[in-house]
């Protein structure tokens, strides 16, 4: 375990002002690093990490990028990663550091604030103090603790009451060049005040052969009464990289979190989507798609905590696993005694394309209220032989039929993506991946 490396690094970081910021920040960092020291990296004995060993991360040394390693990129470099929308509000981070030159936050509508974390620490200390570190649980989760200790770059998005932001806010987290050994503890805060609406896209990508780096991202989201937050995470890290990313949300009355999580990158990757349905009538809709190949190990954990009456959750995760890849889905639904009339549905379907591919799926329902409606189901299977025969009986060759059905398996969940540009891109991507075709279906 290289935990001491992080402790040493923290001492240096703290001695240098700990990234500066308001007076309460350094004590928060200190308490987080203490928690990290006490928790250590999780082992498979930890319920939440039963199917995933993080030793590939724990045994390596990752350090926050020194300024000298910042790679200069031009807008042309990132253009392919912008969904053809140069006009979106966009914050770009390269190897964990905010790049103001690549970012575009010019035309913010009234009532919308989008800042990088360091600027927010200077200009919006009140906003940060109210929420930062209050939702993401660093007391019990080592990676969140580590992130909280080192957080410096990331985004802060604030939507004022009743404001509906039509354009998505795109956070692009890039790794580029020789990023080996680099750690990026990205921290994002999203606050949607009452009856606000917004869409936030987090995309993770690697450029010019970046590999061997570690992304440790935490996003905290606060949803006020009647707020709607669409959160889209696109994890397209290098297949030779490590990724742990958490979205942790807290929802007030009648708010709605609409999450989509796509995971195709990483040698070892884990995405956590956690939400706390704290207000009457609030709900969460979670969709996920993971596409694995080679020797990838990609783990998705979701936790929906129904803590108020009349809350709902809808969840569909799908995985397609090829090669000798290993996928994990762990979907926790926790219904507190006071959460009567909870309505929860969870589904996880997996398609194995090769005999070596493997998936562990673990739906986990813990229900402490008596008047609830909760269902869950998980399947692990191969392509539907009946559908294959149907296609062949129409003259479509066996190989093409397989490819189309594989694509179709993924397509259902992609439909759930609310942003047309991203839906189209994901469709094209999966179509190409599974059929080699360029045209749309």
């Amino acid at each position: 375990m290289t935990q001491p490396v992080y402790m040493q690094e923290f001492r240096e970081f703290a001695a240098n002002g700990g990234g500066e910021g308001p007076s309460w920040l350094l004590p928060l960092r200190r308490s987080a690093i203490d928690r990290f020291a006490a928790l250590g990296f999780p082992t498979p004995k930890n319920e939440d990490w039963h199917f995933t060993s993080v030793s590939p991360i724990a045994e390596r040394e990752f350090r926050v990028a020194p300024a000298a390693r910042i790679v200069k990129l031009s807008p042309a470099d990132i253009a392919p990663l912008t969904f053809g929308r140069a006009d979106w509000i966009r914050l770009v981070f390269v190897n964990g550091r905010f790049s103001s030159t690549l970012s575009s936050m010019a035309q913010l509508p009234a009532g919308v604030r989008v800042l990088d974390l360091a600027t927010a620490a200077r200009d919006e200390p009140g906003l940060l103090e109210r929420h930062l570190g209050k939702i993401a649980d660093y007391q019990h989760t080592a990676f969140t603790a580590l992130n909280t200790a080192f957080m410096r770059d990331g985004a802060v998005i604030h939507i004022s009451p009743n404001v509906e932001l039509d354009t998505p806010v795109h956070l692009l987290f890039l790794s580029a060049g020789d990023a080996s050994g680099n750690a990026a503890h990205l921290r994002t805060l999203i606050v949607a005040e009452h009856h606000a609406r917004a869409t936030v896209i987090e995309s993770y990508a690697a450029l010019s052969g970046a590999a061997g780096y570690f992304t440790n991202a935490v996003t905290e989201a606060v949803l006020g009464d009647g707020a709607t937050l669409a959160h889209i995470k696109l994890q397209g890290e290098s297949e030779r990289a490590f990724h742990v990313g958490t979205l942790q949300a807290r929802q007030a009355r009648d708010s709605h979190l609409v999450s989509f999580s796509y995971a195709a990158g990483g040698e070892l990757a884990r995405t956590n989507i956690y939400t706390f349905l704290g207000g009457d009538g609030s709900g969460a809709t979670l969709h996920g798609l993971y596409l694995l190949d080679g020797t990838q190990h990609v783990d998705q954990q979701t936790r929906i905590e129904h803590a108020s009456p009349n809350t709902f959750s809808r969840e569909v995760y799908k995985g397609i696993l090829d090669g000798a890849s290993h996928g994990v889905f762990n979907g926790q639904v926790y219904v507190r005694p006071e959460a009567q009339k909870t309505d929860g549905k969870q589904e996880n379907n997996n398609l194995l394309l090769s005999p070596q591919a493997r998936v562990d799926t673990k739906p986990q329902l813990e229900i402490y209220a008596d008047d609830v409606k909760c269902t869950h189901g998980a399947t692990v299977g191969r392509l539907d032989e009946v559908a294959l025969f149907y296609m062949k009986s129409r003259g479509i060759g066996a190989d093409m039929a397989r490819k189309l059905l594989t694509y179709a398996f993924a397509a259902g969940v992609i439909e759930a993506v609310g942003v047309a540009e991203i839906r189209t891109e994901l469709q094209a991507l999966t179509l190409k991946r599974f059929t080699g075709a360029a045209a749309g279906l």
Binding site: A387, S393, R394, A411
Partner: protein, 280 residues
Amino acid sequence: MRPVIGGRLLVVGYWWLVVEQYQLGRDNVLDIRNLQARVAGNDILKGITLTVNAGEVHAVMGPNGSGKSTLAQVLAGNPVYEVTGGTVTFDGRDLLALQPEERAQAGVFMAFQYPVEIPGVSNAYFLRSAYNELRKARGQDEVDPLEFLDIMEKNLTLVDMDPAMLNRSVNAGFSGGEKKRNEILQMAVLRPRLAILDETDSGLDIDALRVVADGVNTLRRPDNAAIVVTHYQRLLNHIVPDFVHVLSAGRIVKSGGKELALELEEKGYDWLEAPAEALA
């Protein structure tokens, strides 16, 4: 010298073909001889013999579980069904030696009793892929999406289907009647030499029934043929068959003209000779 011999051989070959056609009486499409098949360890088809010539429509009737769908599925090449005996010749080729997609490319089309849902693949893409596969197999160029739209328009009118259905996933969430209509649409687009309709009329309202029947009749030509599996005389009022066969316990126990269907409607199946095995 050599070309002359070649020419004579060609001429001889031609005459031989003519004689062969003459001997068969008509242009033979499908020749099933003593076909036997099993599924899940049970013998279902116990020796089916049936000849279908161009221009003919054969109705296949018979009680539930008698093997009608099994026959249809075996002809289409469903690997779930194991052929244990007999031969099937389609346009002079050994049909049983072909893969399902090769059979379709050769001109066999089977409308499923229970059409399969394929969420995620649009009807338009599915049909265009099938259409192009068939063209490729015949050495023709593929058509692009725009050309295909043209072809679709006529056929949509034929089956009275809303073009919006093309953008939906294949059969996904379609009503029972819409699924059957979709089968006929596929048939109309693919223009098979042999169409096998497995209870395409079941579960249809009167209008849909007429649409399906009109579709079949419009596509009926002297150079193609159809096998229509049905339980109901009412379909045969619209699609008038040349022959009616009764399948019972995996055998054809009676064949006749279109009047046999009327007789069945009136008397049911009980009066028919029970198959030998049931008597034993």
